[in-house]
Structure formats: structure tokens, C-alpha cells
Amino acid sequence: MRRFLARRLAHGAAVIVIAASLSFALVHLAPGDPFSGSPDGFAIDPETARIRRSEYGLDRPLLQQYLAFMGHLAVGDLGRSIRHGRPVSAVLADALPHTVLLMGTALLLSFAGGVTLGAWQAARRGSRADRVAGTTSLVVVSLPEFWLGLVLLLVFVYKVPILPGGGVVDLMHDSLSPAGKLLDRARHLALPSLTLALLGTATIARYQRAALLDVLPQDFVRTARAKGVAERWVIYRHALRNALLPTIVLAGLSLPTLLGGAVFVEQVFSWPGMGSEAAAAFSARDYPLVVGAALLGAVMVVIGSLITDVLHAAVDPRVRPR
């Protein structure tokens, strides 16, 4: 198991270096630079632009910039954000907890919802309820995140105003009791995490249903039924446990999708996470922050994938390293 982990970590490190190099190259090769001004009329003084380019080393050849970046990266220095003027690590450290909270909640909700719905559908295979749930989840999977977010906003903030529409806490947060503060945070988290979770639930449910349908005809299920075990017990205790493997893999691999979705959802719900930070950084050609965010995204995906591998190995003895 130790060698297995070491090998996976080495793969992860390679992925991170490649991701850093690729994002560095792509963002530097894209047209424009951080000091080219914006089309809404604010132009940067040419003299100021020259000083700033020199300050950030952008007047040097790209290869030199890349080598300097990798050198700094090797000692854990991601550079200074051009837009914020602060270390990239500090900017990301501000945003990361919000993203982890949002993605973690969404992942938890979508996993719980998806597995339950998938199993429920598989137990009613071919029924009208199964068909309705299948079509609904297909429709939900096809929806863009931002659109779904706006619809939820319209319903729960405007039509039935029971949830706040943006931000992390309320204006009166500081005056609330500890329990009130917790509730306030949960209320603000509800809509963005629900948006991401609905999409995740629909995807996982489809996988879970298919996985369970593969397992149900197998001998051990037939044996359980022959022994007189109740059908509900057969499905949820015996079959579902074995059908969880592909879903675990999917949950780990859905991290990049969630991260991508978070860009739009954070924008709609004014959630100060990494997704919207990365999008703003790219628009502003904030090179160090774009590369830092890509790097952090890669780290999160590698960790997600590593956790998936470990969980998979723990659940299924056949894939365990010898």
C-alpha cells in the first residue's frame, strides 16, 4: 500500500508540474497583457504600463520568465498577483475555504442524492416513476450551471423569498448568536451548493442506476433472494454496496467539473471563491494568479483522484496493490 501511495503521489506531482507549465504557456501566449487597459475606456498610461511590466518581469523573454517562475515555484513562491498586488498564495488562501465549503457541500449532497435516487430508480426499473426520474435527471444534466442558478435565485429569492441571494453572511451577522451565525451561513450556502448539487445528483443518479442494474442479476443477489431476504434489504444492503464502486470513482473525478461549474455559480451568487477569482484573473491577464489558480485546481483534482484510488482499493480487494 505504501508503494502504491508513493507511485500515485509521484504521478500527481508530475501532473501538477505539467499543469503549471501548460497554464503558464497558455496564459502568456494569449493576446493582450495585464496592462493593456480595458474596452470600457480606462486606458493605462504608457509610462505606467512600462514601469509595471518591468516590475513584474514581463519585459523579459518568455523562457526567462518561465525559468524564473519554476524556480520560485520550487520554493513554494507563486509570485504576486498583479490585480491584487498581494502574494498569490494569500489571495488563494482567502478564496480557498469558500470554494472547499461550497464544493464539499455540493459533493456531499450530490453523492447522497444521486446514490439514493439511482437506487430508487433501479428498484423500479422500467416503471413510470423510473422513466420520469430518468428524463428529469437528463434534463437537469443538460442545463447550464448559471441558468439553473438564476432560476433558483428567481424562485427562492424573489418569488418565495426564503433564502438570501448572494454573499456569505448577512448584514446583521455580527449581531447574531452562535447558532444564528451558523444558520445564517447555512442559508447563504444553500442556493449555490444546491445549484451544483442538483447537477451532480442527476449525473450520479444515472451512473448509480446503471451500476445497480448490472449488479442485480448477479448470483449473490439471487442467492440472497433465495434465502428469503426482503427485497429492500437485498437492494440496499447487498446489491448497492457492490454497485457503489463506479460511483466512488465518479465522485472523485467530478471534482474538475464541480470546480468548472463553481466559476459560474460563484458569479451568480457573489460567492467569493476560487472559481470567480480565477475567471476574473484570466480576464485581467493576471498571469501569476491564473497560473496559481490552475495549479491549485490541479492539486485539488490530484488529491480527489488519490482519495478515489484509496477508497476504491479499500472497498474493492481486487484492485488492492499486492
Binding site: S38, P46, L150, G167
Partner: protein
Amino acid sequence: MRQLTGSTIALLVAVAACDQSNRASSEEAAPGGSLIVAIQTDIGHIVPPAIGQVEQKLVADQVFEPLAWLGDEGRVDGGFRPALADSWSWERDSTVLVFHLNPAARWHDGRPVRASDVRLTFSLYTDPALGSPERQPLARIDSVTVRDSLTPVFWFGSRYPEQLFDAAARMLIVPEHALAEEPRTKLAASAFGRGAIGSGRFRVAKWDPKTAIELVADTTHYRGRPKLDRVIFAHTPDPNAMLTRFSAGELDAAEIVNSEHFRTLTARPELGARILPAFDYAFLQFNLRDPRQPNRAHAVFGDVAVRRALTMALDRDRLVRSQFDSLARVALGPMTHAQALADTTVAMIPFDSTGAARMLDSLGWTRPAGKAIRERAGQPLRFSVIVPTVSRNRMSMIVRVQEALRRIGVELVVDALEPNTFMARLAKRDFDAAFNGTRAEVSLAGLQAYWTTNAANDPAGRNSGSYRSPLFDAHLDSSLSAHSAAQARAHASAAFETIIGDAPAIWLYEMRSAPVVHKRFRTAHMVPGAWWAGIADWWIPTAERIDRDRIGL
């Protein structure tokens, strides 16, 4: 609202203002209340000499003060309201301007405001490392010295009409004791950027990046405490989400730029709107040089007659009304109605599609039988226009322009670009035409960076279309250095006549500022381009306050 004319709007604004002031006088305004203003961008900091966005200015104007504020009419040659300076006088043939600071003025940390603060502020605003947009116009001030602790003195190389504006209203004064030791290139990122110590009527209480900025009333302010307890700037980057949150009562004020959103919000009985002149204008800029061989004139746009014909082909009044309703008006030229020296009487090139077609025919651009596009020597009259995708207004307008030009046999190919690519192509002057936009300065000095020969000759300059006119340059220079307001106005008009006649661009629209505010607020003066100028004097009648207005300080 759809058919409102400019004069009707002005009348409505005036009536609304009278109505509000009457109510203000008849109701008691006990301090209190929270105003939540939507902002779209994560503004990062509010260090005045490093400000480059409108929304940074919106927040900074509450926290800092200039020596004097522009008056309600926005004139740059008079009508100022005292702020940190309670008086000023001229010396030595009007090339020395002496201010007297209000001795009661204090920074938010309790220290007195001193003349040396003004001196440092000038030094920061004119430092290229900070990149203030005011740096170039402030170059007309030679230096700032300190006569005594309450007397900053401004020294000018020559007399010109906007001296007082440059010295008194361009700069928000910052505290020397907080900033003198900070490295200048890191000022925007310093703790001061988000925890600024100002002298304004609100102080920074909390700054949650990308979420909200909370300002609270300075109850000991030397000009009296604001009537509201707090102003919160809520980050709402998505315009549709902003619309929903506004409609749900989560927000109290926002500036609206989309006519559909404006109609939706103003249809709500609890929300009120004002329409003010603003400084943003958009134009279809022609590249007068061949983008591939810049030493040659552009094959199509090198000819002023073609440029004028294309301008004549567009019914700009209909185009602007159909897209913006009352939120924009046809642009006058490289100026807007908000600028005091803008000449609204200069004749524009009129809409005349028949005349435009005739003019193109006479220039050899004729429509061959069976073809929709005009040709000259086998060359079709076709050009591409770069448009930034980030501007919904421009993306929508260019389709209307495309259709209008097609009717007279001109093919316009839209090249939609993400903002950085758009700016890079502009900077390299690599385009046939560009749907450009800019924010005009209060003063006409800003025109120098965009339309003069010097700016065209400078490879890093912003005159991307390479428009060159010695006559325009001369009139603009004369206007900026004239000794009297009348002379300045006459030369400005001549400069506008020249550039409008030369048609280096089709002046399409100028936006109006449309702040929408919840009606429980009794608003005070709003200045063109700065609807937020009087927030400290806004108030809410006690009976109309809601829960968040009663939080207290």
C-alpha cells in the same frame, strides 16, 4: 418612459428634485439607516492616486475628500463647493493658487489635515508608478508647496481656465502620516488600500473581498455626520442576479446600463430612477492607415468622403432609441453632454441614406447589376469591425449598424473579440474599424490623449485610428490654454467642428447615468457622472425604515 425626450427628462428630474427637497424640509431626518449599493467589480482598493475604475471612485468619494467638490452643474470653471479647503485666492497674475484648509478637518484617526498632506497627494497623483488617469492633466501644475500647516500653494506655469478644477477637484487628498513611508509601487496592495484613513463623512468599517465593503458614518465629522448610519457596497457581478436581488429588496441602489433591466426595475412602485448626463461614449472608429502597411492610407477609410458617406447612411437617432430607450442619446462627437465645454450646437453629419448612396456612387463605389455589395475596380466595399464581446451594448448595436450599412451596399464583417484581444489589436492598430468606447474627462484635456497628432505619432499612444489634423490640434491647445472662458469655449467649438467634419469615427451613442434607488431614501444632489456625490446627505424618514435601517452604529 419609452418616448421621453431630453427636455422632458430634465423637467422630470427637476420636479422630482423639488418634490424631494419639499419632503425633506417637512419631515424630520433623524440619523439612521443602511444603504446597500450594488457594485459589479471586485474593486480591490481605494487608494485615490491609484484608482482606475468608476466603482473605486464611487467608494473612495465617500471616504476621502478633495479640496473642493465640483458644483451640481459639473462646471470646471466655477461653482465649486468647499470641502477640505474653506477658501482660496489667486496671486501673481493668477499663476499661484493659495488654499486655506478648514482647521477643523480631521483624518479618521483623529489627526488634523495638513498642507503637507496636499503636497504628498500631488506627488502621488503625478507619479507614473501609480498610474493615475489624472497624471497627464495635472502635469500643468508645476509644483505644490506648503506655506504653513493650513496653507498649500499650487504653482502653475501659465494661466488657463481649468486651473482651479485641476488643483481643487481632481485629487482626493490622502494622509501623509499613513502613506509617506509606503513603497509607491505597493500602495494599492498596502493595508491602507482596504482600511483607508480618509477625511470623508464615512469611514471604512469592514472589507470582505469580493463580498461587501461596509462604511459607517463618521459621527464627529467637521462638516456634520452623514444622515445615514452606513453604506454597504455589495459585490454582485452578475447583472441578472443583481436584478433579482434588487427586486427582492436585498439591494437599495445601483446604476443600471441595460434598458430592459431599467424598465423592469422602474416598473416597481418602491423604486425610483434618475437619469443624468454621463461621460461614456461609444464610436465606430475608422483606421485611417492601412493596418498591414501603416505608411499608406487605408484603402477605404483614407478618404474623408467615404467616412462621411458611411456616417450619413446611419439613422443614429433611431438606432440609439431602439436599443437604449432613454438610457443613451446620440453622441455629439468626442464629447458628451456632461462636459461643461461640450458644444451641443455643432452641426452633426445628418442622416441621409439617399445622399450617402449618391456620394458613394460619385466616389466610384457603385453597385454592379445583380450584386448587393458596392465595388470599385473589382474591390467590394467590405470592411471588418472589431468589437469587444464583454460589451453587450456594443455587441447588440453593431448588428443594427451592420444591417443599416447593408441597405446601401456596404458589407460590415463583425469580428467579436474577448477584451484583451480587442485591446491588443487596438494597441497594434491592427483593424479596419473598431467599435471603441471611452470615458470622457470632465475637462477637455483628456482629448489630447485620444485624438491629437502627438497621440497618433506615439506608437504607444491611444489615437488608434491615426487621426491627424493640425487644425484640430491647434484649436484644442488654444482652448486649453485660453485666458478666458469665452475664448476657451470658442476654440473648443472650432475643434469639435473640425473633428466632426473629418469623421474619423461615427459617433454613435453616449450613455446616460441611470441610478435606481429605493424610494424610502430621500436623495440629495447628484452630479453628472457621479450620482453618488450626495450620499452623505441622503436620509430615510423614520416611519419608512426597515429592519436593516435600525441596526444602529
